[in-house]
Assembly symmetry: none
């Protein structure tokens, strides 16, 4: 590729956007129903939850909006929550990866500094020769986990590095190292199978040697503290990682962004991308009221509804329908302070018949003064198939919203 | 681009798939009607062959499947058989190229070793000064071609390299060099126009000098043998090439793959990609019966129906309709051993009004337990336009099939 004066150059989505961004007073709301997309369930009239639900407000909105379906990563690829949200926020999930340690930490509601290193940890069972006999310590209870983490919290500091321990569910917990000169390029200590001893923490490069050393010292001291705590007498670490080094919403889009999300994981992802976390009650009306309250203070609002994904993962069709209908009933609250651009979508699909995340394209509608409309008469997966947005990679959704907000200049003369 | 630990990295489709693949006992069938896609013919009620045909079985299948259209190379680009099949098999046709010599050789049913070098050859007419007067030797008959090739077969070996000659149709034949240290980086000897002498075989790099030398020695000896065979007294070589160095289905997808295809070209492409070639009768029922016979022995079946493409290239609308209806009638045979995932599609379009391959997106349906369904009520080009797969590049079809077979893990946490 050559530029106007004949030199080699190349342009990608990021460099194009950067040159076109402009600011105005528009408000953009992205309403994310987690795991929204679904497939038809034969036992419910061969309909998807969106097709089955009574959604007069969403349907009316669909008729005056442009619809489509977005593909989180690539056709056929099922995303986790990290890649799913990165995509709709315009970060290519093939380029930006949130490490598992970081995701687990933010999922527990911990705030991570840019210099922190986080790891996901399992309690495990070791035999007399320190060989792993159970990678999950017999799946101990969360109560037991909390007791054991309280023991480990005796280790507060190693060689000037603060050690932060936070219990998760069952046998899982998180360790955060906080201090100077830390580097996350350290291999897992979890060998991923039983019958061998845990691995030493090994630096992948010179700059991470200090961090590996801290981790090994921690593991040694923790091992002594857990000696008599069979079946939870060992620790395995995975996903040693730091906050991704990516520009936040302000830098990338010139948007002051805020998140109305009640679940720690999604608050955490929003925080990693520079959004302000708003205080929210755990109801759909509460999420929407939070938006109306803070409407004047931010340009972009991420509103996250978790219930749809939980219902999908539990295979609870009618529960998913119920969450969708609640969102529909609460929609007029959003319109009390009507945003210039409103997108309604999910981060991925979680079909009830599969009881898991899936690869199916995600329905989306975009409503704005100049967004246009199409022949979709309801907000459903299959009506979105005929929408004016077509099928597109999730990472392009943000450009579409910025365009609808008239925040992008023309490209080229 | 950053990885989980904040370092630069990049991921493409291949590296993602590699990390997500898992094995199970599912069976995947890809039924390819060659050149299936079409456009409407005014003289047949302004319908496409798929719209005109009576296809009760395909229509019933479409109603419980997810449909869409795939784009072989890029919008507007008409693929040959090589790129068309590479695409639906998940090899990017812009990255993997099957050389013309290789394609011609496998199209004649020749088996190519990994170390072989193949070239496509034309008989041509040379004048007294060895200038080309006809690049196709007056389009001699295939019978004459066979006689001439029998003469050339006297050249069995040059400097330890075995020479294999195989006549094709009309003025075309194939030369295979078999031996050690061969390298296909040799330019065409065909200057592509008349009035000049044939070119010397020229190595593009040092490692191919030996191969170029063998070819030049062959051309010299062949020239002597053909001296009195006017108008076929010269030879022009094109597409000097070797088998593409790509991972086969087992390595790329962890699939034991088999091909039920009766035409040499498609058997050849399947062989290049590591599929086992099944013995097949040249009828549609026969192809389908072959699948049911071998159902237990393989994970993936490529079933290739040639008739649709031939009819398209001949402009024979009703013949194409007939082939489609035969496939439809035979479909219940496939269901005797119902695969977990069934895709019905083409490798490209061959519209009857054009009498050639074309760029038009190819209709596809995917049927599986968790594939979902959409509002398409028939398997036609235009019903596929409203399908839940949308429009996608052909190279993603394999990921979609693997996902439907539950052979892919989730990407990211």
């Amino acid at each position: 590729m050559q530029n106007a004066i004949g030199e080699e150059c190349s342009m990608d989505a990021d460099s194009i956007l950067e040159g076109l961004l402009k600011e105005n007073n528009s408000k953009i709301v992205m309403l994310v129903m987690d795991g929204l997309g679904d497939i038809r369930s034969p036992e419910f009239g061969n309909k998807t939850p969106l097709e089955y639900a009574e959604t007069p407000n969403l349907d009316a909105l669909a008729r005056e909006s442009v619809c489509g379906r977005h593909i989180p990563v690539m056709p056929g690829i099922t995303p986790g929550s990290g890649p799913g949200h990165l995509g709709i926020f315009g970060y290519d999930p093939l380029e930006v990866v949130i490490g598992r340690g970081v995701l687990e930490a933010v999922g527990l509601g911990l705030e991570l500094k840019h210099s922190d290193v986080a790891a996901r940890a399992n309690f495990a069972t070791l035999d007399g020769d320190r060989r792993i006999t159970d990678r999950r310590a017999g799946r101990i209870s969360t109560e037991k986990n909390i007791q054991l983490c309280n023991i480990l919290k005796q280790i507060r500091e190693i060689d000037g590095v603060e050690i932060i321990i936070e219990p998760g569910r069952g046998h899982r917990f998180v360790i955060i190292l906080r201090g100077d000169n830390l580097n996350p390029a350290v291999d897992d200590t979890d060998p991923q199978h039983e019958g061998t001893t845990p691995l030493e923490a090994k630096a992948q490069k010179e700059e991470a040697a200090f961090t590996a050393d801290i981790i090994n010292k921690f593991l040694e001291r923790a091992g002594a503290l857990l000696k008599d705590q069979h079946p939870a007498n060992g620790i395995l670490l995975r996903g040693i990682s730091a906050r991704p080094k990516v520009p936040g919403f302000k830098e990338k889009y010139r948007l002051e962004a805020a998140a109305a999300a009640s679940y720690p994981m999604y608050r955490g992802i929003a925080d990693l991308l520079g959004m302000t976390l708003l205080p929210v009650p755990d109801t759909i009306e509460g999420l929407f009221r939070t938006y109306t309250e803070f409407h004047n203070k931010y340009d972009f609002f991420f509103i996250h509804v978790k219930g749809t994904d939980q219902a999908g993962e539990d295979g609870e069709f009618l529960t998913k329908v119920g969450v969708i209908e609640k969102v529909d009933s609460a929609l007029p609250i959003l319109f009390e302070k009507r945003p210039n651009v409103l997108a309604v979508t999910g981060d991925h699909s979680s079909p009830c018949p599969m009881r898991s995340h899936s690869w199916h394209p995600v329905p989306v509608l975009v409503n704005s003064q100049f967004g246009g409309s199409d022949d979709a008469v309801r907000f459903t997966e299959n009506q979105c198939n005929i929408g004016g947005l077509g099928f597109f990679e999730s990472k392009h959704l943000m450009s579409i919203l910025l365009a609808n907000a008239l925040r992008l200049d023309k490209f080229g003369a």
